[in-house]
Symmetry: C2
């Protein structure tokens, strides 16, 4: 199978290709050359050819890529060709923001449960979901088919909740808590850490670097 | 100046070092060896020594790093040694979540204004800030010292708002809209893109890869 050979570096880049292909489809573009895609995405054309080479003979010399085929094929690799259920643990503003993200639904991700321990949040409706008490989480996971969980809770609760999730069948954790959960679980549990404060610090670092360069 | 020589790859890693050093300080740890830090962070000790080498003679053979000194020094590089004002454009749940993030305040980031075009949000209080109409944004930027803006608005509005921000003195944009703003501005405008749906797709991709491997 082709998919097995795709490197982590390519996987990192695939969602961005997918986003650009989606935009091209919206614009009604049927075919695109690696040169044109290169210009749009600000990536070298040879990088693009090398990355998209994994998806077989879609790029024909002189004809470019068939946008729809490439979009479908990358979608399959990303697991977007089927609906995927998701729970969100942490019903605060960030959890609510994720539950409200229409774009996720478009990609096949369905939020089927939101959990919190705060009684002021329990019972609140967020789109089609009512926030449930976190004590009900284990039972919910046992009675529903769901492999993906988003964690939007504070750091000191994250490890315990993550273990409960994994013990009850969750295979992939989208982690917003400030702890590197990937260090705690075996490799077959998939973790994607989103550390927002680190992202803001990188921005700040680059801003300050600009300042030093301006001074120098 | 040492700082000018720090590569982008090291900058990417600095916030994570900072987070671990912060945890060590909370635990009351005064000195740490590269071997122990390596174990905690799951990074090779040689990588750590190479990265932290940029910060002068803090790591002494046999003594390890002085945690507080290293924390302070990296904090300076990250621009966290001074208060930095920030505005948020987009007062929906994600914008509110960012405004509520206590951790940012601890790092010196102060949200001094939140803006939205939705009349149902204008006037709402989010901690110490009242959401203002986006039409007041330009005047606000002219009369306040602020270089950082977070953008939590839909893709089709992002480019126009980003140009308005830059025209009125914003130097760094923390972008959550699904568009690569860095391709639109000169290099002296610092952009950090956070594409949440791409992050979720990467998680899904890895989850599906696990499935293929299990089948194979």
């Amino acid at each position: 199978m082709i998919q097995k050979e795709i490197s982590s570096a390519v996987i990192e880049r695939l969602p961005r290709y997918y986003r650009y292909l989606d935009e091209l489809l919206e614009e009604g573009v049927e075919r695109i050359s690696s040169a044109e895609l290169s210009r749009r995405m600000s990536v070298t054309a040879s990088q693009i050819r090398q990355d998209l080479n994994h998806f077989g003979g879609f790029g024909q010399q002189g004809y470019g890529y068939n946008v729809q085929s490439l979009y479908n094929e990358i979608g399959k690799i990303l697991g977007l060709d089927r609906a995927q259920n998701m729970v969100i643990v942490g019903g605060g503003r960030l959890g609510q923001a994720l539950a409200n993200y229409v774009r996720f639904e478009k990609r096949g991700f369905r939020v089927i449960g939101i959990f919190d321990r705060n009684p002021n949040l329990v019972g609140m409706w967020v789109r089609q979901c009512q926030i449930q008490y976190v004590g009900q989480l284990a039972d919910f996971l046992k009675s529903h088919e769901v492999e993906i969980a988003a964690l939007t809770i504070p750091r000191d609760e994250a490890e315990e909740v993550a273990r409960l999730l994994v013990d009850n069948g969750i295979r992939a954790i989208w982690n917003f808590a400030h702890v590197d959960l990937n260090l705690l679980f075996p490799e077959d549990i998939v973790i994607e850490n989103v550390h927002l404060s680190e992202s803001l610090m990188r921005l700040s670092c680059k801003l300050n670097r600009e300042r030093w360069q301006a001074d120098g």
